[in-house]
């Protein structure tokens, strides 16, 4: 009898406690999938919230709301006030930051994303060429804009030249001593197409420089553990009958890098060994003989060495370290002094790039 009573009370209580949290019905919410931030004037930020509205005929309409305020937090509140139904951030896929705002600093935005427990660590942050609002206001794909943007980046990370990126990695790099973060740049081509258009380099949380889209292949080799991507090699010595240079497009199946740092000071020597296994996808010359293949390998090695060195010296000059050389130095040195590293040691690091390209297949024709 007593047990029945206890069970009864427990059941009543469990019903009661399920009533004490707020019920949220999906149809009555706006689920934000994208978010944009722009700098309008010196101290005014415009925030844009994008959410899909599901129509009776199963199509998706992308709606946006924009509001202006002086801080990111205020923007969120203004947006919530403008919204007809509650805005929830649990389904956020993409956060787009306008270029001008990125130059002023983005850590406030990243912090508010990190602080919200309903937002995942895999959210993509990106910098937009032009207005972030413009980007969010397009109509891309049939599955909604948020999905489109996140698929676009996912695909580019997995198969193309975009280095791995997400909210967690951005914050990791930002807080790590001896490393600076980077984010992809996105550009609107037409009302229903977007394009990945390079990489934004940050110093602390301010965007200072960019890497153009055609150099992303080399950047990815340097920063990612394992990468894919493709690169076109131009053979200088050979010319076709019409005077054009012979070109070969090489898709790298697997690229790995090893970074060795001599921990001694003055100067710190860094050797970056890059190993690439690739296949030739396109070749405009006449016959692809084994000798030609070695030629192509050599040329590609030279391309990589030149480009990588050019990038590394530029990084030193503007004081960014997306590869995390400082971090590696820190692992080998006790009592690492970040100030000394940034002001004296890093600008004088001697780099040495040793690429090793191996072409394993030349396609189905000879």
């Amino acid at each position: 009898m007593k047990k029945v009573l206890v069970c009864g009370i427990a059941m009543v209580l469990s019903f009661l406690s399920s009533g004490c949290v707020e019920r949220e019905i999906l149809d009555d919410l706006y689920i934000e999938t994208g978010k944009g931030y722009d700098l309008v004037e010196d101290n005014t930020i415009r925030g844009t919230a994008m959410f899909p509205v599901y129509k009776p005929d199963k199509s998706i309409e992308n709606m946006t709301l924009s509001a202006e305020a002086t801080s990111t937090r205020e923007v969120l509140e203004t947006l919530a006030r403008m919204s007809q139904q509650p805005l929830v951030r649990g389904g956020l896929d993409a956060v787009v930051i306008g270029e001008e705002l990125a130059k002023k600093g983005v850590i406030d935005i990243a912090d508010s994303l990190q602080r919200d427990p309903s937002i995942g660590a895999r959210v993509y942050m990106m910098v937009s060429k032009g207005d972030a609002r413009e980007i969010l206001q397009g109509q891309y794909g049939i599955r909604g804009n948020g999905m489109y943007i996140s698929n676009l980046l996912k695909q580019n990370i997995k198969r193309r030249e975009l280095p791995e990126t997400n909210l967690h990695m951005f914050l990791f790099d930002y807080y790590q001593l001896g490393q600076t973060p980077y984010l992809p740049i996105i550009r609107k081509i037409s009302d229903n197409t977007l394009k990945v258009d390079g990489i934004a380099l940050f110093h602390k949380d301010k965007m200072v420089d960019t890497i153009p889209a055609e150099d992303m292949f080399f950047f990815k080799i340097l920063v990612d553990k394992i990468s894919e991507g493709s690169h076109v090699v131009r053979l200088d010595q050979e010319q076709k009958r019409d005077g054009q240079k012979v070109e070969a497009s090489i898709t790298s199946l697997k690229a790995k890098h090893k970074i060795k740092v001599t921990y001694k000071k003055n100067p710190v020597k860094v050797t970056i060994k890059i190993k690439i296994k690739g296949i030739i996808k396109e070749y405009t010359g006449e016959r692809l003989t084994p000798k030609k293949i070695t030629d192509i390998e050599k040329t590609m090695e030279k391309d990589i060495e030149d480009k990588a060195m050019q990038m590394l010296t530029k990084f030193q000059k503007i004081g960014v370290d997306p590869i995390g050389i400082g971090q590696i130095q820190k692992h080998g040195v006790r009592g690492f002094d970040i100030k000394e590293w940034e002001s004296k040691l890093y600008p004088n690091v001697q780099f040495n790039v040793e690429p090793d390209v191996k072409i394993v297949e030349g396609g189905t024709v000879e």
Partner: protein
């Protein structure tokens, strides 16, 4: 003390689950920041050192229990006599009640921050306590059962940390011993707070068949806990950069943010809900300990002492409302636990040995 009837005793191997499940509680969700505060990324060394200390203490406790021939209350009576002994009993009643409050309030805070901001502390605690009352009334055998399932069922959660591996850099912990010994020891002290709870053995002892043989299992329980904590510490050190970890209150939960499965968008919700199973034996064991001491030192029946403890805990629990207060609660419970375990227990052992000799002579 009356002899405990055989049918109410538990097998010695269950001590493994009792010890392990009482040690793993709310602390796992956010201990990383505490140890990294002083020792930085050498914190995992502190985890291991603190683990070794727990072995020493449990060894001392077993010697103490063996000498006093009963539980903590008989040891107190032996060392201080009937009346002064009761004062020390009361300290332990308060301590165990404080543990109950800390464990449950910390868990409710996690629920409120991560899942339901509007969850009522009182209603949740009340329904949780009714469940606990039901288990504790069932006796040590039922509690051991909850400890068993509370260890096995949520153990799959360890696998989910594999999702962090693609984003982890294990060189983060290099160079090893970059911090001074003093820093590592301060972190060891802070870590020892997370390990607390194993002193429940002081009261469980008479309920174990072949109690002496159970020592082996107690040490295995401690070892498993140390291993799990070290593993989680290493995984989170690799996943977060040092300054990032400093800002992360519940590092273990934040790691679940990276989990991505086709059928579940936010894994933390599943993890936190599962954590209820880890908290349940935790609260049950500590509740049982507190009410057991109260029962032994007063003429009350166990049922009544249990209700008293639950009412006290329930009313105190709702008083803590903000982040700082919950933090303060954790600090206080940790500090008291530290002094009780590391200072009071060894002194008690010495006193028991002395008093035994004195009594023999007279």
């Amino acid at each position: 003390m009356q002899a405990i009837p055989e049918r109410r005793k538990i097998s010695p191997f269950l001590v493994f689950f009792l010890i392990h499940s009482i040690q793993v509680g709310g602390g796992v969700l956010g201990f990383q920041r505490v140890i990294a505060k002083n020792a930085g990324y050498d914190g995992w060394i502190s985890v291991i050192i603190a683990g070794i200390f727990t072995h020493i203490l449990v060894f001392i406790m077993y010697v103490l229990l063996d000498k006093s021939g009963g539980d903590l209350v008989s040891a107190h009576t032996l060392a201080f006599g009937k009346w002064i002994g009761k004062i020390f009993d009361t300290v332990f009643v308060i301590y165990f009640s404080l543990l109950v409050i800390t464990i449950l309030r910390t868990y409710i805070e996690v629920l409120q921050v991560w899942m339901y901001p509007r969850l009522s502390t009182f209603i949740f605690a009340l329904s949780f306590f009714i469940l606990c009352y039901y288990f504790v009334r069932g006796g040590v055998r039922i509690i051991a059962g909850t400890a068993f399932f509370g260890t096995l069922l949520p153990s799959y959660l360890l696998l989910t940390f594999a999702f962090t591996f693609p984003f982890s850099d294990y060189r983060n912990i290099l160079p090893v011993f970059d911090h001074s010994l003093k820093d590592i020891l301060i972190s060891t002290k802070n870590m020892s707070l997370t390990y607390l709870g194993y002193e429940a053995i002081l009261l469980l002892y008479p309920f174990i068949k072949n109690a002496k043989k159970s020592q082996k299992y107690a040490h295995w329980g401690l070892f498993t806990t140390t291993a799990v904590y070290t593993l989680i510490a290493l995984i989170s050190f690799a996943f977060f950069s040092e300054k990032q970890l400093e800002k992360t209150v519940w590092a273990t939960l934040s790691m679940w943010k990276i989990v991505e499965m086709p059928f579940v968008e936010r894994f933390e919700y599943i993890g936190i809900a599962n954590w209820c199973l880890v908290i349940l034996p935790n609260v049950c064991i500590t509740l049982w300990c507190a009410s057991r001491i109260l029962k032994r030192m007063t003429p009350l029946k166990h049922r009544h002492s249990l209700v008293i403890i639950i009412l006290i805990c329930l009313s105190t629990l709702t008083l803590f409302t903000t982040r700082t207060q919950v933090n303060f609660l954790n600090d206080i419970a940790g500090q008291i636990g530290f002094y009780i375990n590391f200072i009071y227990i060894p002194i008690l052992l010495v006193l028991v040995i002395l008093m035994k000799k004195v009594r023999k002579k007279s």
